[in-house]
Symmetry: C2
């Protein structure tokens, strides 16, 4: 079964630990700050937690870190520590190393030392937020490919009162309605063509981005 080691117990690192631990995966939490190590144990966000300096290969080796298949380097603000730790993990044979970056330069450096994946939460969430704010009629979006998406949206007012088949959505917009529902907790998947749409109802649709825009905006 998959085991994870998380180095750095800031907010990001702790969130990674607690989610993995909640999903019942084995997590080894590491930080050089004793307080954070103790807190991780006390709050039960990991099975094991060790205080060590991850820039020291021998310390990592002794703690068995090189036996893990996946390591997450959650050290954002200490550039040198983050880079050296990532290098140590790759040289120690950890097959998948994910590292958190805190700047565009940091992203480049992490890739240079072999990080398999780099995340930059502030920037990535800033972009995601901006995109979700510019499509208010679209509540959530899944990109199938650059031209097609599945989106969750609200029934446009002009269809309120019509049945699915009567609204002619597939013919007019080349869009398939995958689900309808009054709230996200009870979607009717693959709904009956005679289902009557009402104002404020949620719908999940699949189509080209262009057709989706036409459908939601006009």
């Amino acid at each position: 079964n998959q085991q994870f080691v998380v180095i750095g117990l800031g907010r990001f690192g702790r969130a990674v630990c607690s989610t993995l631990h909640g999903l019942r995966y084995e997590v080894l939490a590491i930080d050089r700050d004793e307080k954070l190590v103790d807190r991780a144990i006390a709050d039960r966000v990991a099975d094991h937690a060790v205080r060590l300096d991850s820039t020291e290969p021998s310390a990592l080796k002794e703690a068995g870190v090189f036996e893990f298949d996946t390591a997450i380097v959650a050290i954002g603000n200490y550039l040198a520590e983050s880079i050296v730790t990532t290098l140590n993990l790759k040289e120690g044979g950890v097959s998948q190393v994910v590292a958190k970056a805190s700047s565009a330069t940091h992203v480049k450096l992490l890739k240079k030392v072999g990080a398999d994946r780099v995340v930059f939460p502030e920037r990535e969430m800033g972009c995601e937020l901006a995109r979700s704010l510019t499509r208010p009629r679209i509540l959530d979006r899944f990109e199938l490919d650059p031209e097609h998406s599945i989106v969750e949206t609200i029934v446009p007012e002009r269809f309120a009162g019509k049945t699915l088949v009567g609204s002619n959505i597939r013919q007019q917009y080349r869009i398939s309605v995958l689900a309808v529902g009054d709230d996200e907790t009870k979607f009717d998947i693959n709904p009956d063509p005679l289902h009557q749409l009402h104002a404020g109802e949620l719908m999940v649709i699949l189509g080209s981005n262009e057709d989706i825009d036409r459908f939601t905006n006009c």
Copy 2:
């Protein structure tokens, strides 16, 4: 057309500005640090940028901030500034205020002062990363509701060489295959039942989470 004001030009705030600006929306960027205001103009991440202290309602009013429909408070580490700014915006009549939090307590306080939406990038991306690492066969996931999802995954080896209809996926797993493709840039949406699946091919499927797990894991 929608206009946005972003207060706080840290990494998150700048990413919000630059994404909105790139999508051709009007953005007013604000910070109390003159250097960051100048840099926003120089880097063209906003149409307008103003230096002001957002804890001062008169300064916000004078700059026309209360005329915006959406404001993003991107002040993470200064708790008081973030809370007071959010309160000022809601009292000044801004209809949608999104604020960035830097701790669980910060999240609560922002909601108390009326933030319409709160984002906590480090924690949210930590959870998202942990989830994506524990489902390596699932490349991307869209939750339709708590029990059903649409996921992008790789054709399980046992189906390689079979046609879609011949693989009997719908009957055995109650899963519909929405698309197949060799890479994310050219999905075949609503594929032909006679399409032959091959190893390494991507597929987008819809079903209950339980059935998806059975399908991807056994």
